[in-house]
């Protein structure tokens, strides 16, 4: 009966005029955002190559499209689209095919609830967000870990030992860091008295990175782990497991999985900026006042992204047992310490 009531509510709602607006907004938002994050991720792939090149005294891409190699990604995309699409023998075909799609869905679902900056009109910031939910922080954190399910699907269905181990490693890593990450989000939400990302940003008179330094560090580490970046990229450690869970993927299927990783990297950086680095808050810039929150926001995101790439170039990889140990024995207690700190500050000092 509950379900029936729910359907009825939806029908009632759909009869209203607001329904059409919401649908149109949703569709336009989805189309625009999927374009934006795809382009953003492409920019990040290019950025990574260029930054890595710089850090290692190399040029990075420098032939395709002028000295800066900006067309390199186009060339790569053409290659991926024209490669033969092969499903290995012995693979669990359904799961194998669905893994990239699930990955893509997970990132899109995250993108729906994440504010991509704001516009400042008459001194008020209007956030650019499609689904401004009350519990968006909780929602984003939950949906972000669907990515690892996709990775597990990919690894498990491939019928390959490297993939299998990679999938296990990815899962274990997610398991070990999901809890500290959640507790850190709770710490932030406590101080902001809200789980809405827009409210969290707006409540950051002082960045939460300064208000909760431990939480910031733990969250960053947990985020890097969730994104599978160095030094936590055990699930695709190429020296041991070749390419981990994507070993058996080729052509566009590999391209999709690979690309989703970069999209989630962008989204993760945005999340870090929103939760701890004050989001789009920042002084107005004259003349382009309307875009000033956007500029601050993008600047912070790019700095976080560059930091991630830079980290990749300068640290060694942990062993998987050390990663899980670190998660359970250090990150979880530390996140609880942070929570206690947040409770104290939130309850008695504020």
């Amino acid at each position: 009966m509950e379900l029936f009531a729910f359907v009825e509510t939806i029908m009632n709602w759909a009869a209203q005029e607001r329904a059409l607006t919401a649908l149109i907004i949703g569709l336009i938002g989805a189309a625009i955002l999927s374009g934006v994050i795809n382009v953003g991720a492409m920019a990040v792939v290019w950025l990574e190559r260029k930054v890595l090149g710089d850090v290692q005294s190399r040029f990075g891409p420098n032939r395709t499209g002028s000295r800066w190699g900006i067309l390199q990604l186009g060339a790569d995309a053409i290659k991926l689209f024209t490669k033969e699409d092969i499903i290995p023998k012995g693979a669990d075909k359904q799961v194998y095919v669905w893994a990239p799609i699930v990955a893509s869905i997970s990132t899109m679902l995250v993108a729906a609830a994440i504010p991509f900056g704001a516009l400042r009109i008459n001194g008020v910031d209007y956030p650019l967000v499609v689904a401004n939910m009350d519990i968006s922080a909780f929602y984003v954190e939950a949906v972000l870990s669907i990515m690892v399910v996709a990775a597990f699907m990919a690894g498990f269905s491939s019928y390959n030992k490297y993939s299998l181990l990679g999938a296990f490693r990815g899962m274990a890593r997610m398991i070990s860091y999901e809890v500290p990450m959640g507790v850190c989000v709770i710490g932030v939400a406590l101080m902001a008295h809200s789980l809405n990302l827009v409210d969290i940003v707006e409540s950051q008179v002082v960045w939460y990175a300064f208000a909760q330094p431990i939480g910031f560090v733990v969250f960053t580490i947990a985020l890097i782990t969730d994104l599978g970046r160095m030094p936590f990229d055990q699930s695709e450690a190429e020296e041991e497991l070749v390419a981990g869970y994507v070993t058996e993927y080729g052509g566009i299927r590999w391209g999709l999985l690979y690309f989703q990783e970069y999209i989630s990297m962008v989204l993760g950086s945005i999340l870090l900026v929103l939760l701890f680095l004050g989001g789009w808050r920042g002084p107005s810039i004259p003349v382009i006042t309307i875009f000033s929150p956007m500029i601050w926001f993008l600047m912070k995101v790019i700095i976080v992204l560059v930091f991630l790439v830079w980290l990749r170039a300068s640290v060694m990889r942990f062993r998987i047992d050390q990663v899980t140990d670190l998660g359970w024995k250090w990150m979880l207690p530390l996140s609880l310490v942070n929570l206690a700190w947040a409770v104290l500050v939130g309850l008695y000092l504020a």
Binding site: D54, V55, Q56, S57, R58, F59, W310, S314, V315
Partner: protein, 191 residues
Amino acid sequence: MVLKGMKWTLKTAMEREVTRLFPEYMMPLPDAERGIHELDATICIGCGSCARICPNSCIEMVPYKYGNPLKNKKMVFPQIDFGRCMFCGLCVDECPVSCLKMGKKVVLAGWNRKDIIYSPDRIAVKKHTDKEVAELEAEAKRIAAEKKKAAAAAAKEKAAKAKAEGSGAEGEAKKPAAKKAAAEKTSEGGA
């Protein structure tokens, strides 16, 4: 902690790249570089030492026009198959007249295997022109004719001597035969 590494990478990011963009910028090569061979066709005597010492048998002696017929009687010069050459430099060391050298050219590419078999013409850095060759050939003919004359004269003399002293020319006759046998042996080895 890992901060030292991060500091180092940051520092390097600020510095200039050390990579060279290859076709535009070639690295400086030392004088001793063992690159593509350079043949001085004007002094090569076509002895084939290089072909014999080559561990990969990539040198073949082939006829070639613009050499010095005075020195190189058969007018054969080394042709090098760079598909097999490993640039060990033994041929250069072995050359008795130092006509073969290895230069600073190292770029070696072709569309197929035949493209990287370099004929004497391609590796020659010094060669005679048509005119010079003609002159030298004339010269060679002249010298050969003179020699023939001299040899005939010597033979006459010798014959005269031999008549006088008995048979002594047997040793002379044996020598060319031995040489011929040796040449056959090497050609087998080369193949």
